[in-house]
Symmetry: C2
Subunit: 274 residues, 2 copies
């Protein structure tokens, strides 16, 4: 998928929602556990009920890896299901990878070629040659961690250099000079809305994936205030708030209702131009 196609989908659906598929067997409705592949069956139902309200799905690979080979099969089935039935959806492998050059190429192939994800999240610590192998793939996006939503995100990311530039700002600035940097998106947590103004000065056009709305306490309006661009430029992720809205037989309806609630809020923001 290219950037324009993503923007078109946002306009068509009046939504810049991303639903995080962080599936935990201890949290999904009990009646699904008797099925052969409960994780996939859960995802399938959530996807079928919400695909018209969201522009992206983001499975966090840790939740699948935790179940070993079975988990990887569930992930494979999930991404194939989305690509086959809802090819207009932007898919994100939330894997937070990053390694030296030839190894990053391996990861990029695994997620972009084999699994056919549109994008993958990558950690910046190892620098340019750990990220550029991902950027080499056309019509694919590399979503670089910048300012994360967790408490520990402040341990290193806001350290200042001699000139007062913080690490996450350095990451934003430096990465803009990397080869194929137009294929970069960034992760900035919704728990840091006050940073968006500064961030948009450095990256006025790149899409930002924003976790942390809902369960982690981030506020949608606050994020949009400075984060929105003319092309919207935001993907707001919600995982637990939507997929675990109920742990009962009504989980599909409840998830759909939650997703619709967020979509309606986003529709208003898009229509009002904020």
């Amino acid at each position: 998928m290219n950037k324009q196609q993503l923007i078109d989908q946002i306009k068509i659906k009046r939504s810049f929602l991303c639903i995080g598929l962080d599936v935990d067997l201890e949290k999904i409705p009990k009646h699904l556990l008797v099925l052969k592949d409960p994780i996939f069956e859960f995802n399938k139902r959530i996807i079928d009920a919400t695909h018209h309200l969201t522009v992206a799905y983001k499975p966090n690979t840790a939740f699948y890896e935790a179940y070993g080979i079975k988990g990887w099969k569930s992930l494979e089935k999930t991404i194939h299901y989305i690509n086959k039935n809802y090819p207009e959806i932007f898919t994100i492998a939330d894997a937070k990878r990053g390694d030296i050059g030839n190894t990053s190429t391996r990861y990029a192939k695994a997620f972009f070629d084999d699994l056919n994800f549109d994008s993958v999240t990558v950690a910046p610590y190892m620098g340019s040659d750990s990220v550029e192998p991902f950027l080499a793939f056309a019509d694919k996006f590399t979503i670089l961690l910048a300012l994360t939503s967790n408490k520990g995100g402040l341990d290193f990311q806001i350290l200042k250099d001699e000139n007062g530039t913080t690490l996450y700002e350095k990451v934003l600035k430096e990465s803009q000079s990397w080869k194929n940097s137009e294929r970069l998106m960034y992760v900035v947590g919704a728990t840091r809305p006050d940073y968006f103004k500064k961030i948009r000065k450095i990256i006025p056009n790149n899409f930002i994936l924003v976790p942390g709305v809902g369960a982690q306490g981030g506020d949608l309006m606050e994020v949009c205030k400075y984060g929105l661009t003319d092309e919207i430029g935001l993907l707001i992720n919600s995982s637990r708030g939507i997929i675990y809205a109920s742990d009962n037989k009504d989980f599909v309806e409840k998830a759909k209702a939650k997703a619709m609630e967020m979509q309606k809020e986003m529709e208003q923001i898009i229509l009002s131009g904020l």
Copy 2:
């Protein structure tokens, strides 16, 4: 495995070698490709021939993930094979993971419980609460990226704050105050031997995993000069230099010879006390 057991193995084998099992189907001998699981078969032969010369094996998970579910099966078989036949070996899942708390816990379970690795490499960018879930596991080690061997390692890791402290030094210092920090090891590339003196002042006792000797140009003696401790405290990794010493039918003998060459060098260093 606990730290003392690792140290004992180093003394018994007079080796602090770690062999990186970064298996690439394009690089292994052609005659193995007709077998059902060439990756595992390759590893098995390398392991059987070198287990007495090395104290650790380190599969880089990217190489396995690149082959999808088949690759994960090869990884699973490899770690089970080592644990069953050579339980004295220290095993490292070179996965460079790191995510928010509950997600890191998932990764930790996958690598420590399910696959039963002794250790896993973790990226520090997301801070304390992304790493502490790994540290919660007793007799398991978390190997934190500090100063990596690749060119891009210098993009962010040596950025200095107002007080002249570099990012990698901050990572070393900060992480020492995290819960269960005695279960930390660190990655420092062999391509940066001049940094070891400084590093040992911050972490006098933690083990350091050192990639980059050989193919990437790092020098063993240089690293040992400042990196060695009374308990040795180093694991020197070699991947390509050993496992791809030959791509022919003699690959097992050639790999063994290369590993022995490094072990002999290490034996001299241990005996001379450097």
